[in-house]
């Protein structure tokens, strides 16, 4: 009995430690973003002042615009490229398809700094000046695997006769693609697009190496501001980024769960 209770307490404490370890830094930051005092060591009451300042700062608003613009363009482009690519891979012979898919997943596991530096080197080598468009291209590149990853299972689940049924009823192959295959895998495409968007919003390292200070995105602003002493507005900005990405991930998670159920 006592052993049982002891182990239960131990488990609870252990779990609490894990959660504290994971979330304490973020909770401290969220707390500080509502602190009326600039000091990090003293609580001077609740305020929304830093959030207000955030939305009056033209530099931050500009960075927000860049971030969203990059994310939207990269999401659209990577979703189209990734979806068509994975449909092509799926239609190949099994051995070749598996090889290509595994090679395409690889960038997901490559450290961001390696991806970032190598993309930067490639742009410099090709004499493309670093800026917004190089950043967009980099985002497209690292978003594509997430699209493949989300669409591939939908293709594998699909009844292989569906495409043939479309041909049988009079569709040319291209028409069969957009009248039957694309609608059938739309849930996967949607999830892939949302994941790509989240990854784009989230990225700092790759953006840092493939863009310049002329076109800062939000994470770059946060990073450069830490060099001059962190202002509470940065806590507010980071909190907002954390919350929006968290919400997106919850949404993606719920979608995947719902799809599994249906």
């Amino acid at each position: 009995m006592s052993v049982k209770r002891g182990s239960r307490i131990f488990r609870a404490v252990w779990m609490a430690l894990v959660l504290v370890f994971l979330y304490a830094p973020i909770l401290v930051m969220i707390g500080l973003s509502f602190n009326a005092s600039v000091s990090r060591s003293q609580w001077a009451g609740f305020t929304l002042r830093w959030y207000g300042e955030l939305f009056r700062d033209p530099v931050i608003l500009g960075a927000l615009e860049t971030t969203l613009e990059v994310a939207v363009i990269a999401t659209i482009a990577s979703t189209i490229i990734g979806t068509l690519g994975v449909i092509g891979m799926h239609a190949m012979k099994k051995g070749m398809a598996d090889l290509l898919i595994n090679v395409s997943y690889l960038p997901m596991t490559t450290p961001d700094i390696v991806t970032g530096v190598s993309l930067m080197l490639m742009f410099l080598f090709a004499k493309v000046p670093l800026g917004k468009w190089t950043m967009i291209m980099a985002h497209i590149a690292f978003d594509i695997p997430y699209v493949l990853f989300s669409v591939m299972p939908k293709l594998r689940q699909m009844n292989p006769n569906l495409y043939e049924a479309a041909l049988d009823l009079g569709c040319h192959p291209m028409k069969a693609l957009y009248k039957v295959i694309i609608p059938e895998i739309t849930p996967g495409i949607f999830t892939g697009a949302m994941l790509a968007f989240t990854m784009s919003l989230d990225d700092f390292v790759i953006s840092y190496f493939t863009s310049s200070d002329m076109y800062p995105n939000l994470s770059r602003i946060v990073y450069s501001s830490t060099k001059l002493g962190v202002k509470p507005t940065m806590y507010a900005l980071s909190t907002l980024m954390f919350v929006s990405i968290l919400l997106l991930l919850i949404l993606i998670n719920r979608r995947t769960k719902l799809e599994e159920l249906s």
């Binding site: 009844n159 006769n161 569906l162 043939e164 049924a165 479309a166 041909l167 049988d168 009823l169 009079g170 569709c171 040319h172 028409k175 039957v180 609608p183 059938e184 739309t186 249906s262």
Partner: protein, 361 residues
């Protein structure tokens, strides 16, 4: 009903996937309005042959003629042939109505005899309604295909194919996923639809009873080769070899030796039969249907044996009777308890003599 014109001719068609040859030199013709069943165990090549007819596979050698014209390289969307797939392959993003209208919506107004898009829309609605009536699914237009039972999905798949008024309908084990009762109902309905519409049906199944119930012609296949072509009665009564005899209905197949014309020896006993033209002392397969063996008194039987087991099968009893080193399967409406010694007689025309199949993989 069946017209004597050859609608489809399959000439010397072989098919290989990599190193495996799944069809060997198939030759077959299919007449207009015929209900042809490709029957065989899984892996016999029947589905591959159907897919070649549908245009989903290309034969490695040989050609397929449609009304005398080579259609080997014609893609599926240019053939006047439609297919009912094994797992229905309904479009889940469309409702029942749009699934059935799918093929018609791809056509031009002139092709449906209409002058305008609006006229065509009304014509499509008419045809879809007619099809839903034919497959007994009126009122399901707006339903999602996910909400239908297996049998209902199958009906929609059939309607979706038939609404295009194909000259040939290909059906790939369409009833395989349904329960026994529903399957039997659908067999009769399919046959009735085929006769009513006058369309050629080419039907793939491994279920011999299904083939016997529905077909005008059965093509028995094994190992990528045609074993026998014939009408159901002919195939059942006069199987050409031991494979067909074993696959269609139940059979006792026993080694025998042909002593002379009309005289065969098996189980150490000589029997009168009605088969001629075999070599003297040629080893043969002797095939006898379980229902063709009569149980008689021990003293008057041509063979004697001991009943080993009895199973009640509804209409009849099925007994396993050991005689020498062979166990005979015997079906009879009267039962002999296990352990009884019985005699068995077989009349000459119920003894079927077959050449031994060449040994091959």
């Amino acid at each position: 009903m069946i017209q004597d014109t050859r609608l489809i001719e399959i000439k010397g068609v072989s098919k290989s996937f990599g190193d495996t040859q799944v069809l060997h030199e198939m030759n077959l013709y299919i007449r207009k309005r015929e209900f042809v069943t490709l029957l065989g165990p899984s892996g016999c090549g029947k589905t591959t042959l159907l897919r070649i007819l549908g245009g989903f596979e290309m034969p490695t050698t040989g050609e397929v003629l449609f009304k005398g014209k080579d259609m080997t390289g014609i893609p599926p969307y240019k053939r006047r042939i439609n297919t009912v797939f094994q797992k229905y392959a309904l479009f889940n993003h469309l409702n029942v109505y749009d699934n059935i209208a799918f093929g018609l919506n791809l056509k031009k107004p002139e092709q449906l005899g209409c002058g305008s898009r609006a006229e065509m829309k009304a014509e499509i609605a008419r045809r879809v309604t007619r099809m839903l009536k034919l497959v007994k699914m009126e009122g399901y237009e707006k339903r999602s295909t996910n909400a239908l039972s297996g049998g209902q999905q199958q009906r929609i798949a059939i309607a979706r194919a038939l609404v295009n008024e194909p000259e040939v309908l290909l059906l790939d084990e369409p009833l395989g996923a349904l329960d026994l009762k529903l399957r039997k109902e659908m067999q009769l309905e399919l046959k009735a639809m085929q006769q009513q519409l006058g369309i050629t049906f080419i039907y793939v199944t491994h279920d011999q009873e299904e083939a016997l119930t529905m077909s005008d012609t059965i093509v028995v296949m094994n190992g990528g080769r045609i074993q026998q072509i014939g009408d159901p009665k002919g195939i059942y009564d006069e199987p050409k070899n031991a494979f067909v005899a074993d696959f269609i209905g139940e059979s006792n197949i026993i080694d025998g030796v042909m002593l002379e014309d009309d005289l065969v020896k098996f189980s150490d006993t000589e029997f009168q039969c009605v088969d001629e033209g075999f070599a003297t002392n040629e080893p043969v397969d002797v095939v006898i249907r379980p229902e063709d063996i009569m149980i008689v008194g021990e003293d008057v039987g041509m063979l004697t044996g001991v009943v080993e087991s009895v199973i009640f099968k509804g209409v009849h009893y099925e007994m396993m009777i050991r005689s020498g080193d062979y166990r005979w399967k015997v079906q009879s409406t009267t039962m002999q308890p296990a352990g009884t010694r019985v005699g068995m007689t077989i009349v000459p025309y119920n003894i079927h003599i077959m050449h031994k199949l060449p040994k091959e993989a």
